[in-house]
Amino acid sequence: MITLDQIEKNQRAKIVSIDTDLLPLKLIEMGCLPGNEVHLEQLAPLKDPMYLVIDGCHLAIRKETAQHITIDLIA
């Protein structure tokens, strides 16, 4: 298990758990919930923020936020 900020391009993962107290509700409402699939679409030129697709929803978050999301890579 790793945190979401360590995901690399072309890897797919499933969200295992999220730190509710530290994540904004908005992110959760956009589909960032345990069980949902996530992959990295692109990293910004300076390696941050991350352009992710979570459960079909395209969004960008900063790495420091991604640290609060635990994922499991799908082989």
Partner: protein, 698 residues
């Protein structure tokens, strides 16, 4: 007898909600503000049949009813307040076919409010390309609603939507979420304390910080059973609520919504690869900016020349055809000259609004936010500061409001404080006229010197904004959680109608708002310039005739001397002379001083002020530019030479001469402290840089 229906349009950002609004209302719309706050209120009307009209409110875009900004609070406040005159008879939730699942979260929340709710699924033209198929009848059953499948792009489905709205009484008001399933203990308790009330509404009153609910909240807070819950417990419940809703949505979509990935063609990732490329991304962004400035300068010059000539003609005709007298002078010299000073800039301002609208409509703006976030964070800003900084080139007021979606308070405050450095459209008139007076016409590598100067001034504004952010980032000791979440919407070709309406509405309100101030100030200036106290003004003619008696002047030269003597001793002349010592080191004379003072109402008044001052007592009707070019220093050289021109431009680049900006900053930061700090430091910076540059160049 026509009946009026209240219709509320609700939806996530980027679902094309505004396109639906435009498709329904056309130009029958007006944009105002919600009372007391600066959230934009868009409403319009639409005829449904011969006897029924719909009054449509386009509510601010929101991802859910859990509000995190003032704009989003507006949505809840309206939907919870049955006594509001705009309380909807029917709620229309707009969703987009590609993000249906996420959009439905808000739908299920609205559905719990006991308002007849219908669902619009927009962008149906994309279904085939994305390989999406949808069983509408089944989905209608599962969501207990009516679904209008529409495409605002291809103008399909709008009539069906109107029929559904007309038939709103047949819509089910039944909820599709069992709120007890979130936390049965908590909600059973709540139900005991408040029997016969909608639990979801109570829950919103408890969790949301909305103004209207204050009274009711008090009632709720007095009930002891609810008080035991801590904030983090409430948040966990909100999360559970979200999970529960998504479970229902997934169940509803499982049998009704299918995507055949093989037939999907995706242009998004191909475009993204280029537009947010580590090298090309920045180059493309820079090229876009460059093109915008070149266009603003080049394309607008033809209509501008035409408007300038028309106004001087109008002024001339007024004088020639109306009986001479005070009123005619006021009209020709005060009002027409002053208004000419604003109308002339309509072409440029419209172009600017056009470009900003296109950048936002296409979805490109989010990419710029993504590209710039890491870089801007060094300066204490957020990637989302890009939108205020870019829309600040139109006007600082909407730009300051656009900071609301920056989640982090420190980043937001810094953005608000530095946004007025970006070159707003009100500075444009000042720059344009000064550039055309003092910068030569040649060109360099295909870019005219004048266009390059303008671009330089825009860059200067951005650089100054960045430098001051870096400074503020060091100085401000504010700890706040950093959140940054931004949706990356799919690329869209902008809809001509949307862009057209935006440009029209924004230009109109700019001209009307600025026009009112300018009209008032023009009249005031004309009065102050046409009257004065004491001997020197009232007997100007005799005094000048006596002084000049020895010089054998022609009658014409003499009357010019008399006019300028009068102006010098009018009320405005005295005012200008008083501040002249302070601004003389910057290369400004007392007439420019007057323009500086009146600019504090709004910068764009500058040109109109000079036009009014220079035309008082002057019978030759000239264009504004020619009048300014004809102004002389006491030694006979042109007043607007390079040092004075550059010094003035720098002063306008840095000074915060805009009462409306101060007012909006006060509103958004809730104190006079920040606008006052802003006003003081920007004025000092402006004065010192104008002083330095003038002393070096002169």
């Amino acid at each position: 007898m026509t009946t009026n229906l209240n219709v509320a349009l609700i939806g996530n950002p980027n679902t094309g909600k505004t396109s639906v609004f435009n498709a329904l209302t056309g130009l029958n719309q007006k944009v105002g503000n919600y009372p007391g706050i600066t959230v934009e209120k868009k409403q319009g009307s639409c005829r449904l049949n011969r006897t029924t009209k719909a009054h449509i409110i386009d509510l601010p875009g929101t991802y859910s009813l859990n509000a995190s900004s003032m704009d989003e609070s507006v949505v809840i406040e309206l939907l919870l307040n049955k006594n509001d005159k705009d309380y909807p008879d029917v709620a229309v939730v707009v969703s987009d076919i590609e993000n249906l699942k996420r959009n439905l979260l808000l739908f299920t929340q609205i559905k719990d409010l006991e308002i007849p709710t219908l669902l619009v699924i927009n962008m149906s033209d994309r279904m085939q390309r994305k390989g999406i198929s949808l069983d509408i009848a089944l989905l209608e059953q599962k969501l207990k609603t009516k679904i209008a499948l529409i495409s605002t792009r291809e103008k399909t489905g709008i009539d069906q939507l109107k029929e559904f709205i007309l038939d709103y009484r047949s819509l089910s008001k039944e909820s599709i979420t069992d709120i007890h399933a979130i936390d049965s203990d908590y909600f059973e308790n709540l139900e005991k304390v408040f029997p016969n009330q909608s639990l979801y509404k109570l829950w919103l009153v408890i969790t949301q910080d909305v103004n209207f609910a204050k009274l009711e909240r008090k009632k709720v807070e007095d009930a002891t059973d609810y008080k035991t819950q801590s904030e983090s417990h409430l948040k966990r419940l909100q999360q559970k609520e979200t999970i529960k809703r998504y479970q229902n949505i997934n169940n509803a979509l499982k049998e009704t919504y299918t995507v055949d990935i093989n037939s999907a063609t995706d242009i998004r990732s191909r475009l993204d690869r280029v537009l947010i490329h580590r090298f090309w991304g920045y180059i493309i962004f820079f090229m876009i900016l460059l093109t915008i400035f070149q266009v603003i300068f080049d394309w607008s010059s033809i209509p501008m020349d035409f408007i300038d000539k028309s106004f001087s003609k109008l002024s001339e005709l007024t004088k020639a055809n109306l009986p001479p007298g005070l009123f005619t002078n006021l009209l020709a010299e005060g009002i027409i000259s002053g208004l000419g000073g604003i109308v002339i800039f309509i072409p440029q301002i419209a172009f600017l609004f056009l470009f900003i609208a296109v950048l936002e409509e296409t979805g490109y703006m989010s990419r710029v936010v993504f590209l710039m976030d890491r870089g801007l964070r060094k300066y204490g800003l957020s990637g989302k500061s890009v939108i205020p900084l870019i829309s600040g080139t139109a006007c600082a007021i909407p730009a300051v409001m656009a900071t609301r979606n920056i989640e982090n308070w420190k980043e937001r405050l810094i953005t608000i404080l530095v946004t007025p450095f970006t070159t707003c459209s009100a500075r444009l008139p000042v720059y344009l006229i000064l550039i055309s007076l003092v910068i030569p016409e040649g060109s360099f590598l295909g870019m005219g010197y004048q266009g390059l100067t303008l671009m330089g001034l825009y860059l200067l504004g951005f650089v100054m904004a960045l430098l001051s952010s870096a400074l503020l980032n060091k100085l401000l000791k504010i700890q706040s959680k950093t959140y940054f979440v931004i949706e990356m919407p799919n690329y869209k070709l902008p809809l001509l109608k949307n862009v057209g309406i935006t440009v029209f509405e924004k230009t109109k309100s700019f001209v009307v708002e600025a026009g009112k101030i300018i009209l008032a100030i023009s009249i005031l200036l004309w009065v102050m310039a046409s009257f004065g106290p004491g001997e020197q003004f009232n007997n100007a003619e005799e005094i000048v005739r006596q002084e000049q008696a020895q010089y054998q002047l022609t009658e014409e030269a003499l009357s010019t001397k008399i006019a300028s003597h009068k102006l010098e001793h009018s009320f405005i002349g005295i005012l200008g002379k008083t501040i002249e010592p302070a601004i003389a080191p910057l290369g400004f004379d007392w007439k420019i001083g007057i323009a500086l003072i009146s600019s504090f109402a709004a910068r764009e008044v500058f040109v109109g002020t000079l036009a009014t001052i220079y035309s008082v007592g002057n019978d030759q009707e000239e264009t504004i530019k020619n009048r300014m070019a004809a102004e002389r220093k006491p030694n006979g050289e042109a007043l607007f030479d390079l040092p004075t021109g550059v010094s003035l431009m720098l002063f306008y680049a840095f000074a915060l001469q805009c009462m409306s900006t101060l007012a909006i900053v006060k509103k958004e930061t809730n104190s006079w402290k920040w606008p006052m700090i802003q006003l003081f430091s920007m004025t000092v910076i402006a004065y010192l840089s104008a002083l330095t540059v003038y002393q070096i160049l002169a």
